[in-house]
Structure formats: C-alpha cells, structure tokens
C-alpha cells in the first residue's frame, strides 16, 4: 500500500517549530511519509526540496506574517514550472480572512487554530489521493 508523501517547512526567519513538529508527529502516526524541510525556507528552496522528495503535498507551518510575502511567490513558481503539487498552510496566526485570501491564491488547504488532526489528515490524504493511486498502480506486478 502506497502512502501519501508530504513535506513540511517553515518560511523565512520564522523560527517557531511547535506547530510543524506537532503536525509531523500525527501525520506520521497516520502512516504518511513526512519529510521536514526545516527552517529558513524561501519559495525557491522549499519547492526544490519538495521536488527532490517527490512529495504529493507541500505543507507550510507559520507563526509569523511572512506567509503573506512567500505564498504568492510560491504559488506562482509552482504554476510557472507546471508543477501541480497542492499546497496547505497551517498556523494559529491565520484568520478567517487569511483563509479566504489564501484559497483565492490557490492554496488547497488552510488550517488555522482549532483545526483537528483528523481533519488535517483527511484533507491531506484527499489531496494526495490521485498520485498515491498512480503510485500504487505502478507498483502492481504486471
């Protein structure tokens, strides 16, 4: 059985890791393959790491307002490169209005404070489903 693959990263000089570490734990417990892009990412480096890890979903954890700067750039770079990797963003600093704006940008999942682990796991699984299915089929013996 193939598992969803996700990379989690923190952008810029935001150095709060509580959210990222906590989310990675429950995604791993849900049998996902999780890689950690760590701190100090730019749109460019996060995409690079995501492609290298061949992930199904890119996750960004934020506790500063730097996502306002990085997200439009990240989405644009993904689109320009023809990379259809869904992006999800989580963090307590995200407001209802942020969710609307990020969704308009094309962000596939926005998880503000109060998002439940199950809700996040389900959303990420759904976003990864097509690629996971393709991998499973490719892995079947001929």
């Amino acid at each position: 059985m193939q598992q969803a693959k996700i990379i989690i990263g923190v952008m810029g000089v935001d150095q709060h890791e509580n959210g990222a570490v906590a989310v990675m734990r429950f995604l791993r417990e849900a049998q996902m393959e999780v890689s950690y892009a760590g701190l100090f990412n730019t749109s460019e480096t996060l995409i690079e790491k995501a492609l290298a890890a061949d992930v199904d979903v890119i996750g960004i954890s934020c506790h500063s307002w730097e996502y306002i700067h990085y997200l439009p750039d990240l989405m644009q770079r993904l689109a320009a490169g023809g990379r259809e990797v869904p992006v999800v963003v989580g963090g307590s600093v995200l407001t209802a209005r942020d969710r609307m704006e990020l969704t308009e940008l094309g962000v596939a999942g926005v998880f503000p404070a109060g998002s439940q682990p199950d809700e996040m796991i389900d959303a990420i699984r759904d976003l990864a489903a097509v690629r996971v299915q393709a991998r499973s089929e490719a892995a079947q013996p001929a």
Partner: protein, 531 residues
C-alpha cells in the same frame, strides 16, 4: 520603613506571617537564607514589583513611541523584544529579513537605532530589559547612556543569556556552542566591572519552556545553563561574588496555579544553597536570586481570545503570590498577532489591579506554611535537582548540546503538548472544551485579526546608512572583532561597543564572530563582509 498594611476591614497586617514557634531551617523567614519565602522580609509599599510589557514593533522610532505610551500608562520598567532578524543577529537589509522586518518586534541593528529606540526614556531611573541578543542590547544601552550623560553605574535592567539552547528552539545565530558560551561570559565579565546594578546574567527559561516543558524540566534545564555559565566565569578566575548578585532568572508562568508558585519558591531555595554551598558565594546578595517572569504565550489561544485576559490574570496573581521582582503578561491577542496597544493596556491594567486593589501583595509569601504549597515546593525542588544531576552525569553539557540531547527534549515536549491538547488530557477552554462556532467567536476580533506590514522605510534607511559610512573607520571597528573571535582574546562586548561607534551593524559584527570561529559570514550565503 514601617509596614502599615491593613485589610479592607482595617485589620493591621504584618509584613509576613510564620508559625508561632518560628519556621524550620528549610523555610526561614522571607528575606533570610535560603530565601524560599522571598528575597525581602517586607513587600515594598508601592511598585511592589516591576510592571512592564514585552514590547517592540516597526522601526526604533515606532518602538520608542510604543514604550512612551506604556510608560504613560504606568509601566514601571521597559522590556524590549527584537524582530526575528534582530533576534537572529541579522540586519534588516538581509534579503530574508525584508518580509518580516519590524513585524514581531523592533528592528534594531546599529548605534543610531539604539539611540532612537531609547530616546527620551529615563534610563537613569527606569530599568531597561531586553530580549535582544545581549552583546548588542548592552552595547546599544551603553551608547544611549553616553549620549544622555548617564553614568553606567546608574543603569538597571537585564539582558538574557541563552548560550546552550538557542540553536535548538529559539532564534538561531549560527555560532558553535562554545563560542556562544564565550559571548555570554564576556558580557557578564564586562558588566561585573562597569554596570554594577545591571542584571547582565538573566537566565531565560521562558523561551525554551514554550516548547511545552514541564515546570520541572524548565527549571532543571535552566539550572544546567546557569551552572555552566558560572563554571565558565570561575574558570576565568573571576570571583563569584563579583557577578553572582547580577544573576536573575526569567521564567515562564503556565496555568498550573500552585505548581508555578511552588516552582518559584523551590528555585529560590535551590539557588541559595547552590551558590553558598557549591560555588562558595559569601555575599548574601549572591544567594538570593532575582526572579522575573513572562506569562506563557503558549497558554494563549486564538479561539475566544477574551479568555486569555483571565489566563493572564491568574498567571500574574500566582507570580505575585510567589513574590517575583518583575512581571510581563502575555498579550491576549498574542496567538494571532504582535500585540496591539489595546492588549498591552489590558495586561498592564491587570497588574495594576492586582497590585493596588486586590491586597494580594501586602504580605510577603502569603501562602507560606500551607501544607499543600510547602509539600509541593519540597517535591518540585527534589525533582528539579534530580534532573540537573542526571543531565550533568551524562557528561559535558556543550557536548550534549552538539549531540542533540536537548533538542530531543524540546521536540518531545512539542509533540506531548499538542497530543495533550488534542486528546483532552489537558483542558483548554475554547479549544478542547466549551468550544464555540467560528461564526460566534467574534469578540475582540477587530483587534486580534489586524496586521501591519514590514518597516520598508527603515530597511531603506539602513541601506543608505551603510552606503554612506567611512570604510576606514568601519575597518577599525570590525577588524578587532574578527581577530578577537579567532584568538579567544579580548572582550567581545567591549569590542562591539567600539564597533558600534565605528558604524558597524549587528549583522556585520555577528558575521565577524562567525568568521572568527570558523563558520560562514552569512549562514544563508547572501551577504558579503563590508570590508
């Protein structure tokens, strides 16, 4: 001074209460060894503790305006937080800094910035604390004092020392642990001679315990760091009583009301015994540690933010009952944003109401002698000390840092904290009990949901400032930094004060430190040395 406190009904109150036969040796009266019951035998009549807000936003001038506003509201000390680049020793013109400059604290990187930040702040009378890297915040404060003709002997306040755990769970400065320890020791050694009233050695257990550590883990790791730095200083041949009175602890205050009180009482007792019996301190001021606290930001929730006001009230009441010397209450909007002025106002007023209306501060250690509090104090004291000894038995602490031993503790705590909230093992009102639909959770949202942009004008100003400097003067300021970092000679704080004078910035000086200790000038490979 005579103690003339009375209850609301007019019952005269003593400075403190004890059992009729006097208390046992382990307890002692407030103001006597081992200081379990507090540093002083009497509460002071006004301003019992320093009441302040951790603040800073935008340019130095904007932060200066914020500090003046807080002082007008009755704040009795200032406490400054830097933005993420400032905390990481990066200048605002660094490409990674631009999207965040000034949004989570003040952007301050050079002498002029500190002069503007402290302009008109009465630094000869008001304690000036900061969470900005010590070597720069002290250099900046000394320049502001020189500018205002304030003698260094008058300066009060504190600055945090975070040599061991900084790279594991705080703002990284990308320097090896032995160099970070040297930087701290240089600051303490310099200030022991020149800033006799300044608490240069502020052990900050707040930031790393925000990973979700227990009170026991928090203080055990704090003691490990204090002991490490004391040993560094003693290794230099510095007399323990020359710096020990300047040690203070900035600790966290979470929601467990009695455990936090017990933690503080146990910490004072452990510290007193350790300083006297293990490190041979003779000056009584070396035995009684100053304790200051910032209430937990981790306890602040994005849901129903008004609840955070009650959390701050309970936490600060426990701190007052424990007899701390300074308090900052986390702003109620902290989970969502850099604090608004309104949330700073609420936090200050909370402290003022406790101080002036509740009567909670009239008697020293009012919970002393409570079966529960004394038992909890004894228990937590033993557990903290067991953990300190267990960690030190594992070997050299700097090696443990390099091996990721502490990082593992922090990451385990982050996971545990989140699991406890998700599973309901820990009640958090509005989060896992008594939740409210998002559409109904509207109270105070106009404040909590507002944002402000990075301070682009200030970035441009720093760029122009850098371009206009005299390169020869700059060279004279920076070259000794590089040399001293390479050779382990000279005092890095003294040289930083000179380098600020020569126009060097924090990012450039930090780059010199890094080059000197064999690291990259800019950890992100985007900035070049200016000379």
């Amino acid at each position: 001074m005579a103690h003339e406190a009375k209850s609301r009904s007019g019952i005269p109150l003593k400075a403190f209460y004890e059992s009729p036969g006097g208390d046992a040796d382990t307890l002692g009266a407030p103001g006597t060894f081992p200081y379990t019951r507090g540093r002083f035998s009497q509460t002071r009549s006004e301003g019992s503790w320093i009441q302040r807000e951790l603040s800073g936003e935008g340019s130095p001038a904007e932060s200066n305006a914020l500090m003046r506003y807080l002082l007008e509201l009755g704040q009795t000390g200032v406490d400054i937080i830097g933005d993420a680049p400032t905390m990481s020793m990066m200048d605002p013109d660094h490409p990674l800094a631009a999207p965040t400059a000034g949004t989570q604290g003040v952007s301050a990187c050079c002498r002029q910035d500190y002069l503007e930040l402290l302009d008109g702040i009465p630094i000869s009378e008001t304690s000036v604390s900061s969470s900005i890297p010590a070597v720069f915040s002290i250099a900046g404060l000394i320049h502001a004092a020189r500018q205002g003709n304030v003698g260094p002997e008058k300066l009060r306040g504190s600055t945090i020392q975070v040599p061991l755990y900084q790279e594991d769970c705080s703002y990284r400065i990308h320097m090896p642990v032995n160099f970070r320890s040297r930087l701290s020791a240089d600051c303490v050694a310099y200030c022991a001679e020149t800033l006799p009233r300044f608490h240069v050695f502020l052990e900050d257990t707040y930031y790393f315990s925000e990973s979700g550590l227990t009170a026991i883990e928090e203080m055990a790791l704090g003691f490990v760091e204090i002991r490490h730095l004391i040993r560094q200083l003693l290794g230099r041949g510095i007399d323990v009583d020359s710096f020990a009175p300047r040690i203070a602890i900035l600790l966290n205050c979470s929601m467990d009301f009695f455990e936090e009180i017990a933690k503080i009482r146990a910490t004072r007792r452990l510290f007193a015994r350790m300083m006297r019996d293990e490190f041979g301190a003779k000056d009584p001021r070396s035995h009684s540690v100053v304790i200051t606290s910032h209430t937990s930001g981790l306890a602040m929730t994005a849901q129903q933010p008004v609840n955070n006001i009650m959390r701050g009230t309970l936490q600060s009441l426990s701190l007052v009952l424990a007899g701390v010397q300074a308090i900052e209450i986390s702003a109620f909007d902290e989970a969502l944003r850099t604090p608004s002025r309104e949330s700073h106002l609420v936090s200050l007023r909370t402290q003022q109401i406790i101080d002036l209306e509740s009567g909670a501060a009239q008697v020293a250690d009012p919970l002393g002698g409570s079966y529960y509090v004394e038992a909890l104090t004894d228990d937590i004291e033993a557990r903290i000390w067991d953990m300190v000894l267990e960690i030190e038995a594992k070997g050299d602490v700097e090696t443990l840092v390099d091996q990721g031993y502490f990082k593992e503790i922090f990451h385990t705590a982050m996971e545990r904290q989140s699991q406890n909230v998700a599973s309901g093992a820990e009640n958090v009102v509005g989060v896992n009990v008594h939740q409210m639909a998002e559409t109904d959770d509207t109270m105070l949202r106009d404040l909590t949901d507002s944002k402000f942009p990075p301070c682009k004008d200030h970035i441009d100003r720093i760029k122009a400032f850098k371009a206009a400097r005299d390169p020869i003067g700059l060279q004279r300021g920076l070259a000794p930094i590089l040399e001293a970092s390479k050779t382990d000679s000279g005092n890095l704080l003294a040289l930083t004060i000179d380098a600020f004078e020569a126009g060097a910035t924090a990012g450039e000086i930090a780059g010199g430190f890094r080059l000197g200790c064999g690291a990259a000038y800019d950890p992100f490979g985007q900035m070049e040395p200016p000379i």
